[in-house]
Amino acid sequence: MKNRESIEIKTNSDSPLGARGHSFGLKYLLRKEFKQILRNKFLPKMIFVFPFMVLMVFPWAASYEIKNLNISVVDNDHSTFSQQLTQKIISSNYFKLTDVSPNYNKAIKSIESNQADIILEIPANFEKDLVTQQGAKVMVASNAVNGMKGGIGMTYLMGIITDFNTGILPKLIPSTASNNVTPSIQIDSQYRFNPNLNYRVFMVPALMVMILTLLCGFLPAVSIVFEKELGTMEQINVSPVPKSIFILAKLIPFWLIGFIVISIGFLVAWAVYGLIPAGYFSTIYIFAAIYIFAVSGLGIIISNYAATLQQAMFIVFFFMLIFIMMSGLYTPIDGMPEWGKWIAAFNPLKHFMEVMRAVYLKGSNLFELTKQLYALIGFAVIFNIWAVLSYRKNS
């Protein structure tokens, strides 16, 4: 029996078909993929318009800098100091005075009706306390329905009040100011690597990662599931094409597109935002290659489990949402609870974003980013092994 089988195989490989089967048709499948992508009415445009849109629009719109917060002041003191403080707040450009309410309850009403975002209540005896006790209290209440806005508004307001405080102290106690120096620590803060705390500077590199994830991870997944739905996949499955070759032919075009798009991203970052990586481009390209390999593995896993386009789209959406929320793109990982940090640790997006920001802003090199390097290699290996194991040509 064994003998018979070996003869069968040998005789077959001598036959013309067997001998010619060794190229596995990769060339033909690649031709097909490129033609299909270029012929698609929607995809090529999408591939180039999407990164431009994301890089040109998002960084301008997505900023933490909030201007024109509506403030409602409850001035119970009606003194020079209280007016000075109010004036200082308005002239800061961050706040717009919507109303001066007679009491706190009225002010709360204006928050409820969405006319004000933040309330500053200056108590009666504000000026008196300042002068006599060298200290007075004010109350700040902010609308935290939008937590981010509330929090930031609060911080701004505190900054202005502190500023006001240091400004008036010498006026209050002019005689003691010079000889009886209150020991104080001057905090001179300096933002390293991004001196102006420019949001665009760290948004743009991170956004490039998001684009790569979509183009190289999720587009091929959708493309494979689409063939499943059409039935063309079955025609391939019944042919001698090995599964790895079929998948490779799906991925190679998107890998190429990925590298082109990230290069366009570099150009846009330089032309529009004047951003040039402080580190080497080669570092980014090496990481990009590993990252692309990892996310395309993930894409194939998705395509293996999804039977229809609808399912695939839903899974993609699910992952994309988690990836973005838990990547540190908008909210810093350090601010997350412990479990959130763990989820983020298993998010390839997070690691590559760290790399991009570090290379762009700090000029880190490969050796300073070994942690991210190992993490991404790990993802690439695991995702791709899983992808190969879960792919079936037969059932």
Binding site: R4, E5, I7, E8, I9, T11, N12, L17, G18, R20, G21, H22, S23, F24, G25, K27, Y28, L29, R31, K32, K35, Q36, R39, N40, L230, G231, T232, E234, Q235, I236, N237, V238, S239, P240, V241, P242, K393, N394, S395
Partner: protein, 254 residues
């Protein structure tokens, strides 16, 4: 292969007690049959009788739960990849690429079966001539009428000169003239020594087959030439034969 050919001289398909179960459901129940080289073997049965499942097992798309099968001399269980090299397959769903041109589809499928560029070019010219498709050569397949598409899909499935071609309801939804032309293509293929394994719902097509098997609830209830079947069931045509057998079916059409 030599040995096999000595053992069963011209058997291109051999199924021995082939069974496929999905959970508690037995889609194909212990079927055995043999198909000779160059034969047109009709595979009939109501919807849900298990035809497609049986065919998918023989094509190496589905792993049998038990039983043995040999196609083109290879074990479908142990050597599915070798089976795939030597068969052609045309599914119920039209499965050429709509967004590729006629010649591009031919090139792709010729190429993945290991044909050389030059050979593909020559055979494409020849095929376009035979099908009278010269004007369609550069058209996208998606723009062709269904009858054209089916003829093309069949021609592509035998383009690499397989030993057997499996056709799963190849003529669904086309007019009788086109179906007639399609069967002429099938006869051409058998004259080149290609064995044809075809499932169909059309009983006039069953008459064109050399031998016909009728599946009911996963089992083969009858297997013979259309002439003998009609005699045995005392029927005027294959439709009556089919009606008599299919009436026994307990499975509800899905």
């Amino acid at each position: 292969m030599d040995n096999i050919q000595i053992q069963n001289t011209s058997k291109v398909i051999v199924a021995e007690q082939l069974t496929k179960t999905f959970g508690h459901f037995t889609a194909v129940d212990n079927i055995s049959f043999e198909v000779e080289k160059g034969e047109i073997f009709g595979f009939l049965g109501a919807n849900g009788a298990g035809k497609t499942t049986a065919m998918r097992m023989l094509c190496g798309l589905s792993i049998p739960t038990s039983g043995k099968g040999f196609v083109a001399g290879f074990d479908i269980y142990k050597q599915p990849e070798l089976v795939k090299k030597n068969i052609g397959y045309m599914s119920q769903k039209f499965s050429l690429y709509d967004d590729l041109k006629v010649w591009e589809n031919i090139e792709l499928f010729g190429g993945i079966y290991g044909m050389k560029d030059k050979e593909i070019r020559l055979k494409t010219d020849e095929l376009m001539h035979i099908l009278n498709f010269e004007n369609e050569r550069n058209k996208l397949v998606g723009s062709l009428p269904l009858g054209f598409k089916q003829k093309l899909a069949f021609s592509v499935s035998i383009f690499h000169n397989p030993q057997v071609v499996f056709l799963d309801e190849p003529t669904g939804g086309v007019d009788p003239i086109t179906r007639r032309q399609f069967w002429e293509l099938i006869y051409d293929a058998t004259s080149k020594g290609i064995t044809v394994f075809v499932t169909t719902h059309y009983m006039d097509e069953a008459e064109y087959c050399d031998r016909v098997s009728i599946m009911v609830d996963g089992r083969i209830e009858a297997l013979d030439s259309p002439k003998n079947l009609k005699m045995h069931f005392d029927a005027k045509n294959m439709d009556e034969v089919f009606q008599q057998l299919a009436r026994k079916a307990k499975r509800v059409d899905s």
